[in-house]
C-alpha cells in the first residue's frame, strides 16, 4: 500500500473493525499474526477494567492480533496474546510520549479520567502521522495525532 495514497474512507472512521479489515486486505503476505485465545481476552479485559465489545471479541478470536509494515506504513491490530500483554490506554500512551519530549499538557491531566477509559486496539503509522484506534466501554473512537 502506498502511504501517500492512504485515505481512510469516511464511513470507516467510526467502525474500527471495518477499518482494520479494510487495511488487512492490503497487508503484505508476511504480516505477523498471533492467535488470540479467550484466556488472552479475559486477561486484557481484567487489565482494561471493562468487557470488550462482543464484536471485537469475535474479531480477535477469529483473526487474532496482527502487525505488518512496509516502507511507508505500519499497522497494528492489537489484542493480548500469549506473547504480548501491554497496558495500553490513551492516557498512558500520551503521557509516555510527552515524557519523552519533556513536555507537559494540562489537557491531558484534565481529561485523564476519560483517556484512561480508552483502550488502544490498533495503530496506523504513516510517516509522522499516527492514528490510534481505541475502544471504551460502549464507544469506539479514533484519535489522530
Amino acid at each position: 500500500m502506498n502511504a501517500n495514497k492512504l485515505e481512510i474512507p469516511e464511513h470507516l472512521h467510526n467502525d474500527i473493525i471495518a477499518l482494520i479489515t479494510y487495511l488487512e486486505k492490503e497487508a503484505p503476505k508476511n504480516a505477523n499474526r498471533s492467535k488470540v485465545s479467550a484466556n488472552d481476552l479475559a486477561r486484557m479485559e481484567a487489565t482494561a477494567g471493562f468487557a470488550m465489545p462482543p464484536a471485537f471479541r469475535e474479531f480477535w478470536l477469529k483473526g487474532g492480533s496482527a502487525y505488518w509494515e512496509d516502507e511507508q506504513l505500519t499497522c497494528l491490530s492489537y489484542c493480548y496474546t500469549d506473547y504480548s500483554s501491554a497496558d495500553n490506554t490513551l492516557y498512558r500512551m500520551l503521557f509516555t510520549s510527552l515524557l519523552f519530549t519533556g513536555k507537559k499538557s494540562e489537557l491531558l491531566e484534565q481529561e485523564k479520567g476519560l483517556l484512561y477509559a480508552c483502550w488502544i486496539v490498533g495503530m496506523i503509522k504513516e510517516g509522522d502521522k499516527r492514528t490510534f484506534l481505541s475502544v471504551m466501554h460502549w464507544a469506539a473512537c479514533m484519535l489522530f495525532i
Binding site: K35, S37, A38, N39, A42, G49, R57, E58, L61, K62, D82, L90, R92, L94, F95, S97, L98, T101, K103, K104, S105, E106, L107, L108, E109, E111, K112, G113, L114, L115, Y116, A117, C118, S134, M136, H137, W138, A139, C141, M142, L143, F144, I145
Partner: protein, 493 residues
C-alpha cells in the same frame, strides 16, 4: 505537541465525554504527582499490592498446610528418584519447552516454586491465588479443587498426587500425575499451542462429562464411557478416530452447543475450535444446559452410530438411528442433515426433501457456511419438480449468505426447468464465479446449447468434463437426470 493540537486530536473523544460522565465517575484514579509518574506511583501501588498479596498467600498456605520445599526435598520425602516419566525417553511424546531441559532436576531447577502438602488437600475455588505462583504441587493424599486448574503449558502448574485427584475444570497437560483415580467434575480440555502440529501426550485416562480437544491426538486418551468428546485437528486424522463415546468432531459442536457458548465460524476449512471454554464450564457448574434446546447426548450418540452404520453400508440401520435421533433430539440439526443425505443418495428425493426441510430451522446460527438442509432440500425439490419451493429455500439461504454458490446453482437449475433461461444463466454464472463446480458448468453449457451458442456450450462442457468424468454431452442429455436418476420412494423410511 501543545494542548491545542491535542484538543484537536482528541476531539472525537471529547465530544462523547458528556454522555460518558457516569462511566467516568466510576473510575477511581490515582492522584499522583505527574512529575514522578509512572515510577513513584507504581512502586507505591506495587508495594501495597505486594503486601496484600503476601498476606493472602500466607493465609492460603497456612490454611492448606502447604509448605514450599526444594525438588530434592520432594524426592526425599516421597522416597522417589524422579516424579515424572517424561525424561525417560520412552514413547513418542515431545514437548519443545520440556525438551529444552535434559532431565527432570534441571527442569525443576528453573521451575523451583514447589509446594508440598503432607495430607489431603481440598481447595475451595480456582487454584489461582494472587501472588502465589506454583510450578509444581505435590500432594501426599487426595487433591480436590472446587475450581479450575490450568496446566503448566498454559501458565498453570504441574502436579503430583499420591491419592485421587478431583478437579472441577482441568487443562490436561504433561507433568500431571495422579497415582489414584483422576476425575474431572465438569470439563477437561487439551489445547495445543498452535495448529502446526498434532500434539501427543502420555497415555491419560479422562473421566469428565465433557472433554474439549484442539490439536491433541485423541488416541492418547482413554475416555470414560459417558464423556462427550469435542475435537478439532487435521480432518483426515480426526476422521480416522473411532470411539463409542458421544463425539462432535470438527465443527459439529455448533449443531449441539448453545450458540452463546461458541464463536462464529466463517469457513468450512477454518481449523479453530471456537468454543467458549469458560462459558461451557460456568454453565455446567451452575447446572445450566450446554446444549441447544432440543439437543440431547442420546441424539448425538444416535447420529454417531448412524454414521458408523452408514460407513458399513447398513443403510436401513443408519436410517433407523437418524430417525430415532430426530425423535429424542428434535433440535439436533445433524440428525436431519445426515438422515436427509442418506435418503437423497438413495434417490428418495421427496422423502429426503421432507427430512431436510425439518432440519432448516435448526441450522447452527453461527456456522456461517452451513446450509446443507436448505440447499439439499431445494436440490431434492428440483428433482421432484417443485421448482418454486426450491427457489424459495435458496433465496432464504442467499439472504443470509450472498456467496452461497450452491444455492445459486440450484436456483439456476430450477429456472432452466421453468424455461427462464436468461435468469438461470445469471445465477449460474454468479455461482461459477465463486466456485466452478461440475454441475454449474454443465448447466451453463446446457443453456448455451439450447440457445444455439454451441461454441460457448462446448467451452462449459469441457470445463464440466475437467470437473468430473461423469459429464455427458448435450446431444444425449438435456437435463441432469443421468446424474440424479429417477426419484424413488423407499418403503423402509
Amino acid at each position: 505537541m501543545d494542548d491545542e493540537i491535542l484538543r484537536h486530536a482528541l476531539a472525537s473523544i471529547l465530544e462523547q465525554k458528556e454522555s460518558l460522565a457516569d462511566f467516568i465517575a466510576t473510575i477511581k484514579l490515582p492522584d499522583e504527582d505527574s512529575d514522578d509518574y509512572p515510577n513513584r506511583k507504581d512502586e507505591e501501588d506495587e508495594n501495597e499490592d505486594e503486601d496484600e498479596e503476601d498476606a493472602a498467600k500466607q493465609a492460603f498456605l497456612e490454611k492448606h498446610q502447604l509448605e514450599e520445599i526444594t525438588y530434592e526435598e520432594v524426592l526425599e520425602r516421597m522416597g522417589l528418584d524422579q516424579l515424572f516419566d517424561y525424561w525417560n525417553g520412552e514413547g513418542d511424546v515431545q514437548v519443545m519447552s520440556l525438551d529444552n531441559y535434559e532431565d527432570e532436576p534441571s527442569y525443576f531447577e528453573d521451575y523451583s516454586r514447589i509446594y508440598y502438602c503432607d495430607t489431603d488437600l481440598e481447595i475451595d475455588g480456582d487454584l489461582d491465588i494472587s501472588g502465589l505462583y506454583i510450578d509444581l504441587l505435590v500432594v501426599k493424599g487426595n487433591l480436590t479443587v472446587h475450581g479450575s486448574v490450568t496446566g503448566w503449558g498454559g501458565s498453570g502448574m504441574a502436579f503430583y498426587v499420591t491419592g485421587d485427584t478431583t478437579i472441577d475444570k482441568l487443562q490436561i497437560d504433561d507433568l500431571q500425575t495422579t497415582l489414584g483415580k483422576e476425575s474431572v467434575r465438569y470439563l477437561a480440555y487439551a489445547w495445543a499451542d498452535d495448529h502446526e502440529l498434532l500434539r501427543k501426550t502420555s497415555h491419560r485416562k479422562i473421566d469428565a462429562p465433557v472433554f474439549l480437544c484442539w490439536f491433541y491426538d485423541l488416541n492418547c486418551f482413554e475416555f470414560a464411557p459417558d464423556t462427550l468428546i469435542t475435537a478439532l485437528y487435521e480432518y483426515d486424522d480426526l476422521s480416522a478416530y473411532k470411539t463409542n463415546n458421544a463425539f462432535l468432531p470438527w465443527h459439529d459442536f455448533a449443531s449441539a452447543f448453545r450458540s452463546d457458548l461458541y464463536y462464529p465460524v466463517e469457513k468450512e476449512h477454518h481449523d479453530n475450535l471456537n468454543l467458549n471454554i469458560d462459558g461451557i464450564y460456568q454453565a455446567m457448574k451452575h447446572g445450566q444446559p450446554i446444549f441447544k434446546e432440543g439437543v440431547t447426548k442420546e441424539g448425538i450418540l444416535l447420529v454417531n452410530e448412524g454414521q458408523r452404520l452408514l460407513a458399513a453400508e447398513d443403510k436401513q440401520g443408519a436410517w433407523a438411528c437418524f430417525k430415532k435421533a430426530m425423535e429424542v433430539a428434535p433440535g439436533y440439526y445433524l440428525a436431519y442433515s445426515e438422515g436427509g443425505k442418506l435418503l437423497s443418495k438413495e434417490k428418495a428425493y421427496r422423502q429426503a426433501m421432507e427430512v431436510f426441510e425439518k432440519g432448516i430451522p435448526f441450522k447452527p446460527e453461527k456456522l456461517d457456511y452451513e446450509n446443507t438442509c436448505a440447499e439439499q432440500a431445494a436440490l431434492s425439490a428440483v428433482r421432484i419438480g417443485e421448482y418454486d419451493q426450491a427457489i424459495e429455500w435458496c433465496l432464504d439461504v442467499l439472504e443470509k449468505n450472498e456467496s452461497a454458490y450452491f444455492a445459486m446453482r440450484v436456483i439456476g437449475e430450477a429456472l432452466i426447468f421453468k424455461n427462464e433461461l436468461d435468469d438461470a444463466k445469471a445465477y449460474l454464472k454468479k455461482s461459477q464465479g465463486i466456485s466452478s463446480i461440475f454441475s454449474t458448468n454443465w448447466l451453463l453449457g446446457l443453456i448455451h446449447h439450447v440457445q444455439g451458442d454451441l461454441k460457448k456450450a462446448e467451452q462449459y462442457y469441457e470445463q464440466a468434463v475437467r470437473n468430473s468424468s461423469r459429464a455427458k454431452p448435450y446431444s444425449e442429455y438435456i437435463d441432469m437426470a443421468y446424474i440424479y436418476g429417477s426419484p424413488v420412494t423407499l418403503d423402509w423410511v
